[in-house]
Symmetry: C2
Subunit: 254 residues, 2 copies
DNA sequence: AAGTGGTCTAGACCACATG
DNA sequence: ATGTGGTCTAGACCACTTG
């Protein structure tokens, strides 16, 4: 009908394998990244979007909900949908980098330094909710990548004679098992924390770094479905082997 | 019809202020946390859920999508919905803790140690995409909480005479502005990284810690809507003042 | 009163898996 | 062939804000 003039309006491809709501998300993210909608700006109303792209309200709503989850926009009932600004506090980091260090199938190996059943130290007993003097499985491992030490792991696993150790539970402290997490049916939840530390003499020796050099310490506690702590330990990784990164704000692709 | 025997089935309260799909999410999370559905177990089919709770397919789907987003379940088309196991790699940390350090309205103040326009060092010029020798706004700040130093910030802001500095842009390097991030309309995106470091002599002095003691270093780069870097800098926070934590797996409440 | 976001329905159709 | 997840429709009704 009209001459096909240059339009900046992207459209939904109904024949695409990609769902309409995802296409719509992409369209808005692209337009925001391009500066068409700046932080604080108001997006078209849902009714307008429906008409413009020929979609039903539910589909549009789903796209907007995704944008909200991704921190891209904010909605105010009765008022509109607005582009969010950049907030430092919204940045989140994950263990992807550490995982890749360990998961690299290429040339990584786990060296068991120590593995035995000992009496729990007061701190470990506290963490595992045991009386001091109770027995725990104690493990110290070194993870090597291409022959170089990368991660040191120190772990304590609940040892209860009435509660036979199944292979699955041992996987909890097995480095690869935990990260790939194939199918942990006995573990309900876990608590992790990241600290900045300096290497002690022993750790420095194992990791082949200077004593006092910086490192990350990743503490972990795991619980079973009775909410009993069953595993407590920590990873130590030299600072030069690990970096946590996060993207915030409006990126074209992610 | 039948006697009201004890049923473990929670139901949807249609008169609640809480949307049905959120109630459904809570029901499943509670049941999973209670061990009714273990990792790997299959949830009832969507059709069954619809009948059981008297909801339409879209509402049930929405609840399941939320569970997927939260990493609670996994769906396999044509097969079913399954409870996910615990995976270390899924833990994610955010800057909430650091934010609370800074945002505490109670008794925090920012002490400007240095603020001037200088020639960019080679590294800063590189980061900001400038020729070496270009002018940048250079700022060093110390954040005090209850009179004690907590965070040291070192920042560099693009200085372009043709591009007058508006108040909004200065907020980018203003600590509080960035974290609360009221309404940054000029910043499109940012890149953050967390490193473990040891304090140098100067930093140690400012933060009142021993030289060589561990600390977190949070590097940041911000970009405008032309994808030009406009701000580069870093925060340094002693390790004993900051802890990143993450919960993984199935928690009752979050 | 009009506009906007928010929830929900009761189906439809499709793609995939084999309970 | 049946059951399952996945998408989408074309409305409805409600709560909220004030364009």
């Amino acid at each position: 009908m009209s001459v096909s003039t240059a339009k900046d309006v992207l459209n939904i491809d109904r024949d695409s394998f990609e769902p309409a709501y995802l296409q719509l998300v992409k369209i808005f993210k692209a337009q925001i990244a391009a500066g068409k909608y700046r932080p604080g700006a108001k997006l078209p109303s849902e009714a307008v979007i429906c008409k413009k792209y020929g979609l039903s309200p539910m589909t549009v709503r789903r796209a907007i909900n995704l944008l909200i989850d991704q921190g891209v926009v904010r909605t105010v009932q009765g008022s509109g949908t607005f582009v969010k600004g950049v907030k430092l506090s919204s940045s989140s980091f994950n263990l992807q980098e550490l995982m890749e260090l360990i998961q690299e199938e290429s040339d990584t190996q786990v060296k068991v330094l120590e593995m035995d059943i000992t009496k729990a130290s007061p701190e470990v007993a506290e963490r595992l909710g045991l009386g001091s003097g109770a027995n725990v499985i104690h493990a110290r491992r070194l993870l090597l990548s291409h022959g170089h030490p990368v991660v040191y792991h120190h772990g304590h696993l609940l040892y209860d004679p009435q509660r036979p150790i199944v292979e699955g539970e041992l996987d909890v402290t097995s480095l690869r098992g935990l990260f790939s997490g194939a199918g942990q049916t006995d573990i309900k939840k876990g608590l992790m924390s990241v600290q900045a530390v300096t290497l002690g003499a022993q750790e420095a020796g194992l990791l082949k770094r200077e004593q006092g050099s910086p490192a990350f310490r990743l503490e972990h506690t795991f619980f079973d479905f009775d909410d009993r702590p069953v595993s407590y330990g920590w990873f130590v990784c030299p600072a030069d082997r690990l970096l946590f990164t996060a993207k915030i704000g409006h990126w074209d692709e992610e």
